[in-house]
């Protein structure tokens, strides 16, 4: 067995969470370029800054707005995720986030513990339309890209940095290439180590970003924080974005259907009640 290749690692804070980049055959400065990309794109996609591209898009409903290629790609992926999850992954969740008071990063202040004016989410294709270079949001709707953005960005990082790279953005990770020993990137997954090669992993949970009886994971069918009998789901899938979508969907379908759903859509899974 050949000796493990040297892994360059770089850790940083971005997107309101901890991020890490790992690569074989890349320099630290190349990983720093990856960090800069995450910061730049994160600043454009956050809903917490009124000056971000996403916030400006949310603030201008009812008309076609020019969007960047990155936001266009993410909105298209969001529509695809809505379709493949039968509506359970719905980025038009911003009104519900406002209803539960989650309008600022939790590190700044905890929201109130009561829910006001929550209602089931509109179907995403009814409130969001995308065409080349532009998108349109219907009045009353709002987008929070959340985990979809992290999974998508991890995938893009793996594509752009190099052929043997792992990007972990707050637990949403993408692993490209054979890893340091040639058999895949060793990744911690539900207490065991698995070897990922051109695959992604993600965890969806209601245990974090929680305050009082509320948490951040909205059930689109009710518009309030989900209570399905599952508290945490980890998934390995063909990409970071796919893992994020499958993990969230599995958590929302609940403990009875999640094993069957995961058997059909995930490469590996862990369900925690």
């Amino acid at each position: 067995m050949p000796p493990d290749a040297r892994v360059e690692a770089h850790h940083f804070q971005a997107l309101g969470t901890s991020c890490s980049l790992f690569a074989v055959g890349l320099s630290r400065s190349q990983l720093l370029q990856g960090e800069f990309w995450v910061h730049r794109l994160g600043a454009r996609l956050t809903r917490f800054s009124p000056d971000s591209e996403l916030s400006r898009f949310n603030a201008t409903p009812g008309s076609w707005i020019d969007v960047s290629p990155e936001l266009e790609a993410l909105l298209r992926e969001s529509l695809r995720a809505f379709e493949t999850s039968a509506g359970l992954v719905n980025v038009a969740v911003l009104p519900s986030m406002s209803a539960i008071g989650y309008t600022r990063p939790l590190a700044e202040s905890l929201p109130a513990t009561t829910v006001s004016d929550a209602r089931p989410l509109s179907a995403l294709p009814d409130v969001l339309r995308v065409r080349t270079g532009a998108a349109r949001l219907e009045p009353g709707a709002g987008i929070d890209l959340g985990g979809i953005a992290k999974g998508w960005m991890a995938d893009r990082l793996c594509e752009s940095l190099g052929p043997n790279t792992l990007a972990n953005l707050g637990g949403d990770l993408s692993a490209g290439g054979p890893g340091p020993a040639g058999s895949g990137w060793p990744v911690g997954f539900a207490g065991v180590t698995v070897l990922l090669r051109d695959q992604g992993a993600a965890t969806s949970s209601v245990r974090r970003r929680r305050w009082g009886a509320l948490h951040h994971l909205i059930d689109p069918r009710t518009g309030v924080p989900a209570k399905t009998g599952l508290e945490e789901v980890s998934v390995v899938a063909t990409s970071g974005l796919e893992a994020e979508v499958v993990a969230k969907t599995a958590l929302l379908v609940g403990p009875e259907l999640a094993p069957v759903y995961c058997a059909a859509h995930a490469l590996a899974w862990w369900l925690s009640p």
Binding site: P186, V187, F189, A190, G191, T193, V194, L195, L267
Partner: protein, 69 residues
């Protein structure tokens, strides 16, 4: 007379096919050796993950983990 023989033969043939098919299906109703669908390399132990065939377990220390954030 010939018509009766043909009818009786057809009926006998149908009944025989039905009975033989039924016997075959009953005998092969369940195959305990059939692989799980989808194939599972490592079935979930209590509280542990389920790994499909395209995810191999590794013995070493992970470089990072998936987690809730």
């Amino acid at each position: 007379m010939r018509t009766v023989v043909l009818r009786a033969g057809a009926t006998a043939l149908t009944l025989a096919a039905t009975l033989l098919s039924s016997a075959y299906v009953t005998a092969h109703l369940k195959n305990p050796a059939a692989p799980l669908q989808p194939t599972v390399v490592k079935a979930a132990r209590a509280g542990g993950p389920t790994l499909g065939p395209s995810v191999q377990p590794g013995g070493g220390r992970p470089v990072t983990s998936t987690y809730a954030s």
